[in-house]
């Protein structure tokens, strides 16, 4: 069996286990509420957002509905994969797996792919449903480029959170630490990042929260590159011509690559040094 087939086989086993597990049954209603639910709400022709803004294009609706990805899908990614390694360590299975001649880096790759697929499949399914909902409510499809960016960026943010959770899982000696680390990272970037941005802005003498202040917009845009959620929104904003936060597209994609490569590299290193 080739290395590629081994990785694919191991990833498929994880995917099957997680996709049809109890956890997915619990998370599916949450995902249904957050993804198609938000798409339905934001595509309401009569919706008026705070500030009197009204979404006018299908992509704009999907951009607002992407809050569902940030709040719901990323949380589900963490809750699916937080015990990807620590559970096996606790049960003794990790020792059995590490004793197999499959290289540890390949095992790490299979873990990432398996857990990513298990969250990506339902999320992508629901995103297709979002596109249909928006089409029905607004009479408009997103363009091919917008759709590709929407799916690719969502895939990336789920990959990042899966990597964070698996990385935590390799470090944690028991399940509680693994879930605390995974959820902690999610909580930090999802809820506390605004606080970090505010503190940096205050320290820099920038008027905090002034949406019309170019200084605030630029600072918030730059700091968002340091957060996976921020990079996700930057990626989506590349398809929104009306939004300009002063971050060139190459910086956005460079940040996306960094957020992909660094935790992946970290996970590979952790797996190499892993002790049962």
């Amino acid at each position: 069996m080739s290395d590629f087939r081994r990785i694919r086989s191991m990833a498929a086993r994880i995917r099957r286990e997680r996709l049809f597990g109890i956890r997915m049954n619990i998370m599916l209603p949450i995902l249904l509420l957050f993804l198609p639910g938000m798409a339905w709400g934001f595509s309401d022709p009569n919706i008026i957002l705070p500030g009197g803004h009204q979404p006018s294009t299908a992509m704009e609706v999907l951009f607002y509905a992407s809050l569902g990805v940030v709040f719901g899908a990323t949380m589900c990614a963490v809750l699916l994969s937080f015990d990807g390694v620590s559970r096996d360590r606790a049960s003794g299975m990790l020792e059995v797996r590490l004793a197999q001649p499959m290289p540890r880096q390949h095992q790490a790759t299979a873990l990432v792919l398996g857990y990513l697929q298990s969250i990506l499949i339902p999320v992508y399914g629901l995103m297709v449903l979002c596109l249909v909902i928006v089409r029905i409510r607004m009479g408009e499809w997103t363009s091919l480029e917008e759709t590709l960016v929407y799916f690719a960026s969502t895939g990336l943010i789920l990959l990042w959170y899966t990597l964070f959770a698996l990385l935590a899982s390799t470090t944690a000696k028991e399940q509680g630490t693994a879930v605390a680390f995974g959820v902690g990272v999610w909580f930090f970037f999802t809820f506390l990042w605004a606080l970090v941005t505010t503190m940096v802005a205050y320290a820099s003498g920038v008027a905090v929260g002034e949406a019309n202040d170019p200084g605030w917009v630029a600072l918030e845009g730059a700091l968002d590159l340091l957060s996976p959620n921020g990079v996700y929104h930057h990626l989506l904003e590349t398809q929104l011509p009306s939004v300009d936060r002063g971050v060139p597209m190459w910086q956005t994609w460079a940040a996306a690559i960094a957020w992909t490569v660094l935790p992946w590299w970290g996970l590979q290193r952790r797996m190499e040094a892993l002790v049962p």
């Binding site: 286990e17 606790a90 049960s91 003794g92 299975m93 059995v96 001649p101 499959m102």
Partner: protein
């Protein structure tokens, strides 16, 4: 003598213990582990690796399984009469059965073996044969959550045998097994050894290994104190040729055994009777006692237990050994010779 198939030369792995300080939050120091160990494994032999808790048995088995890296030393292999060659990846040669695997989940026995087989590149028909070998053929579609402890141990050994390993490592395999399951397990191990598999069994219970291991390795504080065929090690440590004899009534053993050349190791007398542990010609002793109408209640060769092995190998008192284990301290080993010098 069986041919050596795998040789560990001066191998070492010491665990890294976090010692955080304000100036160095990630600082680590070397802790207990295995130090400068030399060991050869022979085709078809069963090596019993014994030592007290914390001696390093699991660490050594994990090193031998390729799970823990060798910090120093090397591993060589020999196939048939060819030259010794360095082993690139131990995991291709070795099957490892960890101490406790809680096989759990809704996946079935067969599917978990297929999954591990994929990681090893094992054919499906080999898995069927393994299920048959360990007696899980009828349970192959059982969910892991529903397996008993004995079945889990069988599954562990099946997993270790994937890929037809040359060397099989079993870490405390008798834990949690009832006597019937332990007997079946012993027979299985002997069958595998007869097929030429080199087997290493770790245990802190020497009595469980008695009768079916043909080599013994004494491990203490990360060092292999002695290793070799059971009889050779017994002789080297002065634990061979010992007998225990007991009887009822009051007997003057000095008088009855006068003129017989024997080494008295222990002698007890109480109201119920007497017992004598000695080294010497047991037939001569037996004959002398019976001809003097002494009533005997038992007579048997005396097999050493773990404590005797370790005390003999280290020259230490049993209380010293147990205290060291309790403290888990990693200190230079005091050998028998050093003790004598003191």
């Amino acid at each position: 003598m069986a041919e050596a198939v795998l040789s560990f030369l001066d191998v070492q792995h010491r665990h890294k213990i976090p010692t955080p300080r304000w100036s160095k939050p990630w600082a680590q120091r070397l802790g207990p582990g295995i130090v400068d160990l030399n060991l050869k494994l022979y085709k078809g032999s069963i090596l019993g690796l014994v030592g007290p808790n914390g001696a390093g048995k699991t660490t050594l088995l994990r090193m031998m399984a390729g799970i823990l890296p060798l910090q120093t030393g090397s591993v060589m292999q020999r196939i048939g009469n060819e030259e010794w060659t360095r082993v690139a990846d131990l995991r291709t040669l070795v099957g490892h059965m960890p101490e406790q695997v809680r096989w759990q989940g809704r996946t079935t026995v067969r599917n978990i073996l297929l999954e591990l087989g994929d990681m090893r590149g094992t054919q499906t028909n080999r898995i069927d044969a393994l299920l048959n070998l360990v007696g899980l053929q009828q349970r192959q579609d059982e969910q892991l959550d529903n397996l008993s402890q004995g079945m889990r141990q069988r599954l562990s050994i099946a997993a270790a045998l994937l890929g037809s390993p040359k060397v099989l490592l079993l870490d405390e395999p008798f834990n949690g097994l009832d006597p019937v399951a332990a007997q079946a397990f012993t027979e299985l191990i002997q069958r595998l050894a007869n097929k030429g598999v080199s087997i290493v069994i770790s245990s802190h219970m020497v009595a469980q290994l008695g009768g079916f291991i043909d080599r013994i390795g004494l491990l203490h504080r990360g060092q292999l104190l002695d290793e070799g065929p059971l009889e050779d090690v017994e002789t080297r440590l002065g634990l061979n040729g010992r007998y225990m004899i007991s009887g009822t009534g009051k007997v003057d053993l000095n008088l009855r055994l006068k003129g017989i050349d024997l080494e008295r190791i222990e002698e007890t007398t109480n109201e119920d009777g007497w017992s004598l542990t000695f080294r010497g010609d047991s037939q001569e002793v037996l004959q002398a006692l019976l001809s003097n109408d002494v009533v005997l209640s038992s007579w048997s060769p005396l097999a050493p237990d773990l404590v005797e092995w370790l005390c003999a190998a280290t020259g230490m008192d049993v209380r010293d050994i147990s205290l060291e284990v309790a403290s888990s301290a990693f200190l230079p080993m005091r050998t028998k010779e050093m003790g004598e010098d003191e």
